[in-house]
């Protein structure tokens, strides 16, 4: 199994249709990737495309259920629309996670609007994957602060800092135990250092396939193979860890309680009362102690 936690349903030739979907899958197969998270793309640039693209990704991932993991996005600028779309994607489309690209979506991670989305992700039990590695909206440290504010939500650094902020990504990953890292973009030395310095049980791998061509995915897989040379490390990153984060996938199916009679996933934490508050005065009730410092709030 090679689990790629960072792909986009997009091709350099433009938005996909069914014919190009098949080509996308064929290219994926040729690169050796067996499972992948499928992230949106057009909706990150254009909020008007969000519902349509979320639908398209769900349909696309249904071509290979269990192998293609659908992610969706919402527009954090409009909390009411975001809430409705988030709920629709999880409950009707079986969305398994949400992607936020702060600089493409012009959204500070330190905004109350993003806090609302984070609370919804925690409520539904789906992880949030962030683009990171780009100032001024997407630094790893900013996302670490977000993770510490929302300790019951799982976060993923989509790039582990890219080429310039990988040292910051190390500090970020070590500062919040609900923050995971997707090794997608740093150079070889940086990948080695991240593996050496961080909790390996929260590291995954990604290629950005779809945004980059198949040879790019192969290139990034080769980087990981060179970096993850310790016994079991490569398998942990490309298989075991993503299966823990995405139990829907083959080899570790969701439990019966997490699926309905048709085998579809249902919200993992369907608590009756949402904890997020819409509007301008967002207040979240956190746990009694900080999960990192263990100090009382």
């Amino acid at each position: 199994m090679i689990f790629d936690c960072h792909t986009h349903r997009f091709s350099a030739a433009g938005p996909l249709d069914r014919e190009n979907d098949d080509r996308w899958l064929a290219d994926l197969d040729s690169s050796g990737i067996t499972h992948c998270v499928v992230l949106p793309y057009a909706g990150l640039w254009n909020p008007g495309m969000i519902p349509k693209e979320n639908d398209a990704i769900a349909t696309f991932c249904a071509l290979r259920p269990g192998n293609l993991v659908p992610f969706f996005t919402v527009d954090p600028h409009d909390p009411r629309l975001a809430e409705a779309e988030f709920t629709r994607c999880v409950e009707q489309l079986d969305g398994e996670g949400v992607k936020i690209h702060p600089w493409l979506q012009a959204t500070s991670v330190n905004s109350s609007a993003v806090d609302v989305v984070c609370e919804m992700a925690g409520h539904f039990g789906v992880p949030m994957l962030f683009h990171d590695g780009t100032p001024c909206f997407a630094l790893p440290s900013q996302i670490a602060m977000l993770a510490r504010r929302h300790p019951t939500t799982r976060f993923v650094l989509g790039h582990c800092g890219l080429l310039e902020y990988w040292r910051e990504a190390i500090d970020a990953l070590n500062s919040a135990n609900n923050l995971w890292g997707c090794l997608c973009g740093p150079h070889l030395h940086a990948i080695r250092e991240i593996i050496r310095c961080c909790d390996r049980s929260r590291l995954m791998w990604g290629s950005d396939f779809g945004f980059v061509p198949a040879p790019g995915a192969v290139y990034r897989l080769e980087l990981l193979k060179q970096a993850a040379v310790d016994d079991g490390c490569f398998e942990m990153i490309v298989e075991e860890n993503p299966l823990r984060l995405f139990p829907i996938c083959e080899g570790k199916p969701t439990t019966a309680a997490e699926r309905d009679g048709n085998g579809h996933s249902v919200p993992r934490h369907p608590t009756p009362a949402p904890k997020w508050v819409l509007g301008d005065a967002y207040v979240r009730k956190g746990p009694e102690t900080d999960p990192v410092t263990k100090e009382g709030r």
Partner: protein
């Protein structure tokens, strides 16, 4: 001739004309815990089939120990004259002393001045860098500037600086990888004549687009070893931009820029 993994070297062993590979940016012994320095770099070059490499001071030397780093590069290049080409660095904040050290390093053999605005804490267009950049132009020493996603590394900042100092040659290190990649095609279309483009950290699959969008005589292959494995980089670059079709990009352009004698 080392036995290399890369096919360009294998072919040369069979008697065909060999493509000279010159790596535009390597860093021997760059940081604690990052390997065994010079022997490791030479082994990486041998495995990749890289003939020569520009060697630059490491991060600490770029930030705070400029003279120490420059002298180390000079010493290594004297020890391995057939493999290493020395670069030097000086922090522009040293003012007149920076210019004196640049002149000394040039006379000692430096072929490239490396500036890293992010590590050295200045904006490439800041007046404090002006005299050093003009001195580099007077010495015919190209100025390699690291670019990337940090605030002082935007390719557009370097384009403006290159236009401001037309008598100085500049090399855009890394072409703004990764997130300034969106700027590159526009930059290539309007690049001033004194600006070259170094390709380490650039994703191999986008290089053909860059070459098509600009002047191919201005592109320089680089690996940034040992942060990257040059054999892996060269293999993937070769797949995107065949070495035998682009010997200029893989060595000749750099050789011309820094005045290497053609073997």
């Amino acid at each position: 001739m080392p036995i290399a993994e890369c096919k360009h070297a294998t072919t040369s062993l069979s008697g065909e004309a060999m493509t000279r590979i010159v790596d535009a940016y390597c860093v021997p012994n760059e940081e604690p815990g990052n390997g065994e320095g010079v022997p490791r770099l030479l082994a990486l070059m041998d495995r990749a089939g890289i003939d020569h490499a520009v060697i630059a001071p490491d991060d600490r030397e770029i930030a705070v120990a400029n003279v120490e780093g420059n002298r180390r590069m000079e010493r290594l290049s004297k020890n391995y004259p057939d493999r290493f080409i020395p670069a030097c660095t000086i922090n522009p904040w040293y003012g007149e002393a920076a210019c004196r050290e640049l002149t000394r390093a040039r006379e000692a053999g430096a072929r490239l001045l490396v500036l890293c605005p992010n590590l050295q804490g200045f904006y490439i267009g800041h007046p404090t860098a002006s005299k050093l950049i003009r001195t580099a132009g007077d010495l015919d020493l190209p100025v390699y500037v690291h670019t990337g996603s940090h605030a002082l590394g935007a390719p557009s900042q370097l384009v403006l600086a290159a236009a401001k100092y037309p008598a100085t040659k500049f090399v855009m290190g890394h072409c703004g990888s990764t997130d300034y990649a969106y700027d590159m095609l526009a930059i290539l279309r309007s690049a001033p004549e004194n600006l070259w483009f170094e390709l380490s950290l650039v994703r191999p699959w986008v290089i053909p687009d860059y070459i098509a969008g600009g002047d191919r005589t201005r592109f320089l292959f680089g690996s940034f070893a040992p942060r990257n494995d040059p054999a892996l980089e060269l293999r993937h670059c070769d797949a995107s931009l065949p070495i035998f079709e682009y010997p200029d990009v893989y060595g000749d352009n750099l050789a011309r820029l820094i005045g290497m004698e053609r073997a």
